[in-house]
């Protein structure tokens, strides 16, 4: 009976296959899965290699994706440069955010024949991204850079098309230096209505488009500019000095806010005028890890985050991540006790 025999064979094979699949990998206990911001991703990539206790998987899908992933409990931890809004906190149903990384958003540009670290102040940057300045040889740019020879080349602003905490940081800065930006474009937010330019996915995507487009200008964490050999601008802070993203300028900016909000938020964008902030780079920001308050992986998550804000910070400076100050470390340790299983 050919039919019956082949049916038996098929069923047996299916059973064996199922058994093999089920036993071949019982879900490994030592995995932490996370998703979110591309801003801290370069440092988290190093952590993935250096952290030995568990295997950490991280998907850099943007802060918006991280917030929605942790809200849906699709991952064990989320990451976002944009602090959660009250609505997002309530949607998350018992989440906590902790600053764990400190760095800066660079304003990167691709322009042949022009040196690194050209001067761009907040107004100029806002005008560029609003589409008011459309050519590199515009007087408003030349005025800030005497002696620099700008070619006749169209400016292509590059922004984040996905939900991005870097966009939040960047628009936070632009709305504080340009009232017309605030009214025309809006923000700070993880997505805004950019009037001009091209969108790209992720900080890598922004770096990609910029490196392929002559005359492009965009924003991403400084690590991406350095890694892809893209030039970045010096931005004028409130004290009138020109600062580039670097460990010292980020540290100076971090002094702008030492007082945690109730949700552990620290806002250090565009520090005020003052002797402390002479070197401050005005588009610096903390990035946050998002944890559920009640999770079966509480012990592992706490161990990982504690390691990240202590030992993990050691790997930061090479990628221009300034180690977090001691009060951030203290706050993390005390707040982590709220995470329970």
């Amino acid at each position: 009976m050919n039919l019956r025999r082949s049916a038996i064979v098929v069923v047996l094979v299916a059973l064996v296959a199922t058994a093999v699949t089920v036993t071949a990998g019982a879900r490994s206990q030592g995995t932490l899965s996370g998703a979110g911001a591309t801003f801290p991703a370069p440092l988290i990539a190093v952590w993935q290699q250096e952290y030995k206790r568990d295997q950490v998987n991280y998907n850099a899908i943007g802060s918006g994706g991280g917030i929605s992933a942790i809200t849906n409990r699709t991952v064990d931890f989320g990451a976002s440069d944009a602090p959660l809004t009250p609505d997002q906190f309530s949607a998350c149903k018992g989440c906590i955010q902790l600053p764990w990384v400190l760095s800066a958003t660079s304003v990167m540009y691709n322009l042949d024949g022009v040196k690194n670290a050209i001067h761009l102040n907040g107004r100029a940057i806002a005008d560029i991204f609003m589409g008011n300045i459309t050519n590199w040889n515009d007087a408003r740019i030349r005025r800030l850079n005497p002696g620099v020879n700008f070619p006749d080349r169209r400016i292509t602003p590059v922004y984040r098309s996905d939900g991005s905490g870097t966009t939040y940081n960047f628009t936070d800065y632009l709305t504080s230096v340009s009232p017309s930006f605030k009214s025309r474009v809006g923000g700070p937010n993880t997505t805004v209505n950019w009037p001009a330019g091209v969108g790209a996915r992720g900080s890598s995507g922004v770096a990609g488009v910029i490196s392929r487009t002559e005359g492009a200008i965009g924003y991403a964490d400084i690590a991406y500019a350095l890694k892809n050999h893209i030039k970045f601008a010096a931005v004028q802070n409130k004290s009138g000095k020109w600062a580039t993203p670097g460990l010292r300028s980020i540290k100076a900016a971090s002094l702008a806010d030492k007082k945690f909000s109730k949700t552990n938020e620290l806002s250090i964008v565009n520090p005020p005028k003052g002797k402390k902030f002479l070197r401050a780079y005005p588009i610096s920001t903390y990035s946050y890890v998002l944890l559920p308050l009640k999770t079966s992986k509480a012990a592992q998550l706490k161990a990982f985050v504690t390691w990240a804000v202590t030992t993990g910070q050691r790997f930061g400076p090479k990628l221009i991540f300034q180690p977090v100050p001691s009060y951030v470390l203290a706050r993390a340790k005390s707040q982590l006790t709220r995470v329970k299983s």
Partner: protein, 326 residues
């Protein structure tokens, strides 16, 4: 045949079975196959229900004005689809404009004009173009076609057609509406040409041979016999190709630049319904934004349904007419 001889059964038992019209085995098979056949309907109903349910907050908030509103502003949580409808329409129809003559010419080549030994291989190659995954076409579009447009094709188009609103500025970036249009054209051509090829092959031989007997050239046969006969079918093929272009998300989102402006300048970036859903859905942060994106998906679904049914209606009418006149 071996399998038939296996079903030879005892004649007495066969008589018994013939008495009852449906044996339990038959009923079982009938049951599970009917259930399987209903799966498509069930899936469609589920699809519509889930999408409508999730889009409902946006539908309630914006109503039908969503379709005409040009605002897509996450800062104020106000959303509208007009920009993406424009982008979808512009890219799809422009691609159709390019793909239609190309595909019909290819179908003609493969059915009438090519030497017989060439038809098979070339036909296969054209169909292989349909097998290229859209993410690979998008990759090629980003890294090969985009720079090529910016460096060579773009300046040429700007010089010659710069007086039209379509090529007003110098091409600046690879990601642009033009890139999306070209990629969509490449995707549509194999679909349209394979359907047209079937249509042209189905033209009754007597009609073709009659024309040839009268001394018509090959082109005159095409113009006088094949085109009039296959006209409606070709229209259906074009509509189906259009449907493909409207729904393409991945390749388009890779090359179109994701900008929310309504612009006729093809060197500018833009966005389509499908592309916007693909780029924003993962990172949408407010409930209203999420349901606005599902609202976009609903509009996209409605378009593809209309397109499909339209093509079907045409095909059915063509089939009926040809059956009657045969």
């Amino acid at each position: 045949m071996a399998s038939v001889s296996e079903t030879v059964v005892d004649p007495a038992a066969a008589t018994l079975r013939r008495r009852g019209r449906f044996s339990p085995g038959d009923a079982f098979l009938y049951g599970i196959t009917l259930a399987a056949a209903l799966s498509a309907l069930v899936l469609l109903v589920l699809l519509a229900r889930e999408l409508i349910a999730d889009a409902w907050p946006a539908v309630q908030e914006f109503g039908l004005g969503f379709v005409t509103s040009r605002t897509w502003d996450p800062s104020t949580d106000v959303y509208g689809a007009a920009t993406f409808l424009f982008g979808t329409a512009l890219t799809s129809f422009a691609a159709l404009l390019l793909a239609a003559p190309l595909s019909i010419a290819i179908a003609l080549f493969l059915t009438e004009l090519a030497p017989r030994w060439l038809r098979g291989p070339v036909g296969t190659l054209v169909e292989m173009l349909a097998a290229v995954p859209s993410v690979v076409l998008g990759l090629w579009g980003i890294l090969v076609m985009g720079p090529w447009i910016v460096e060579h094709v773009g300046p040429f188009l700007h010089r010659t057609l710069g007086w039209t609103p379509f090529f007003k500025t110098e091409p600046a970036t690879g990601p642009s509406m033009l890139s999306a249009i070209l990629i969509l054209t490449i995707m549509m051509v194999p679909i349209i040409s394979s359907i047209c090829r079937e249509l042209f092959l189905n033209v009754p031989r007597e009609l073709r041979e009659g024309a040839l007997a009268l001394g018509a050239t090959r082109w005159e046969v095409v113009r006088g016999v094949i085109f009039p006969y296959a006209r409606a079918g070709v229209a259906a093929a074009l509509i189906l190709g259009l449907g493909r272009a409207i729904g393409e998300a991945i390749a388009v989102t890779q090359v179109i630049g994701n900008n929310e402006a309504i612009t006729w300048n093809l060197f500018d970036p833009g966005d389509t319904l499908a592309s916007r859903i693909a780029s924003l859905y993962v990172g949408a942060t407010t409930k209203l934004q999420i349901s606005s994106l599902v609202y976009l998906a609903l509009i996209l679904l409605a378009f593809s349904l209309v397109v499909n049914l339209l093509a079907r209606v045409i095909i059915n009418r063509v089939a009926a007419r040809h059956q009657v006149s045969a």
